[in-house]
């Protein structure tokens, strides 16, 4: 079974449709599937719902799809760095569903694991609990949250072998494994595709069973908040 494609556009061929639900990996601008997002922009697919922790910045990440009005709804935990997002949200053009960050991650993981719902104490007694079933276990209240199953997952990893076994790098792993798990189809972009047998089987972060299509490409990997210290003061 061939998983490796030549470009992001080819890897998404036949998978995109208006009104679809996409789960995307990444935290801030770290570990985002920047090549696949660019290809979705070029495809012009509309009315998209994204489950993604953040919404990028104005000209990078999911932000580029907000500029072209391709996004109908975001399911996110934090959307603070994007002026165009705020403009569309405040004018009612864009729907927003806030999820606590851990709840969003677990909704993806659970959906990918065949678990349609789970109880969590996160958000009990807050607006997040409104309209949700509450159940008491051993004296503590928990709310019911639903697993997410997306039409498509788009994910960024560091390395893959041609069977789709993935290795991530440092904190760029973040939402990528749970996002990958929850899609009916998962397309992954990596910095390097290596031959089968060159990754240590004990060091695979996400097995290739979750990965359907794969591309290699050059990534900008933009830094959102460059913070440093002086050598003198260290």
């Amino acid at each position: 079974m061939k998983k490796v494609y030549d470009s992001a556009t080819e890897a998404l061929d036949g998978l995109l449709f208006d009104g679809m639900f996409i789960a995307a990996g990444g935290f801030g601008l770290c570990g985002i599937p920047e090549l696949l997002l660019q290809a979705i922009k070029e495809a012009g697919t509309k009315d998209l719902t994204f489950a993604s922790n953040n919404a990028g910045v104005d000209d990078f990440g999911i932000g580029i799809l907000l500029q072209t009005r391709q996004v109908k709804k975001m399911i996110s935990s934090y959307v603070g760095e994007n002026a165009e997002f705020m403009r569309q949200y405040l004018s009612g053009e864009l729907e927003l569903e806030f999820n606590p960050q851990g709840t969003l991650a677990e909704r993806m993981r659970a959906g990918g694991c065949g678990i349609p719902g789970f109880y969590t104490k996160t958000g009990v007694g807050t607006v997040i609990a409104e309209g949700k079933e509450v159940k008491n276990f051993e004296g503590q209240d928990y709310i019911l949250e639903r697993g997410i199953v997306a039409d498509l997952s788009i994910v960024k990893a560091w390395k893959a072998d041609v069977t789709g076994n993935l290795v991530f790098r440092k904190t760029a792993r973040n939402f990528n494994p749970p996002a990958a798990m929850c899609g009916k189809v998962c397309v992954v972009e990596v910095e390097e595709i290596v031959p089968v047998g060159s990754l240590d089987p004990d060091m695979i972060h996400l097995p290739g069973i979750y990965v359907h299509r794969l591309i290699q490409g050059a990534h900008e990997k933009r830094i959102e908040q460059r913070t440093t210290r002086n050598k003198e003061s260290a």
Binding site: F27, G102, T103, F168, I223
Partner: protein
């Protein structure tokens, strides 16, 4: 007369004990890392890292290595990386000993509000709701009063909650208070602050 940001951070660092795994929020809580001294503390960053190191030297920034505030950071010999579901598994599962967080309001029953002001720009709760629901001990570091001099230590929160009955200890520029049955208990007054001044600046019931 009262503590400044760094003195509040230094006081909060006294709450940490050798061997603890701790999550620090954005703002004054981040400064706590500067005051842990010789204690063996492992910092968690909820985007998927245990063993968070200091900011990198200029030219050594790595776009794959950031903290939950999206700032470039470094790793330590003890560092471990993991995905977001695993990260919040350890938070929700009570494996993180303590979280030190900022607040807009805190109430005498331990309610915490620190994520939204209705009518103002809402950025989102990030991981704050998961942290306050899950970690062993929630320590809030905040200014005691607003710019207009109104108490932020209240009988009841007026803003939408981040968590209900979740706060254990409050460290402000005026002192340290614990959430106990019936209200708040004064643990300590800041340098130059009298107990009467602390009581006068506090709307919450002091027991």
């Amino acid at each position: 007369m009262a503590w400044d940001r760094n003195q509040m951070a230094a006081r909060a660092a006294q709450e940490l004990q050798d061997g603890m795994y701790v999550n620090l929020g954005i703002g004054i809580p981040t400064l706590v890392a500067n005051y842990v001294g010789d204690k063996d503390i492992t910092l968690q960053s909820e985007n998927g890292m245990l063993g968070m190191g200091p900011f990198p030297f200029e030219g050594e920034e790595d776009s794959d290595l950031i903290n939950a505030g999206k700032q470039t950071i470094t790793e330590l010999p003890r560092t471990a990386y993991f995905d977001s579901a695993t990260s919040f598994g350890m938070i929700r599962g009570g494996k993180i000993a303590a979280a030190i967080l900022g607040a807009m309001e805190v109430a005498e029953n331990g309610d915490l509000a620190n994520w939204m002001i209705p009518g103002k720009l809402v950025k989102g709760m990030g991981g704050a709701m998961d942290l306050v629901a899950g970690v062993g001990r929630v320590i809030v570091v905040m200014d005691h009063t607003s710019k207009h001099g109104e108490s932020k230590v209240l009988k009841e929160c007026t803003l939408p909650l981040t968590g209900k009955g979740v706060v254990d200890r409050i460290i402000t520029n005026m002192g340290v208070l614990d959430v106990v049955p019936g209200g708040l208990k004064i643990i300590e007054c800041a340098e130059g602050v009298t107990e009467d001044e602390l009581r006068a600046a506090t709307q919450a019931t002091i027991v």
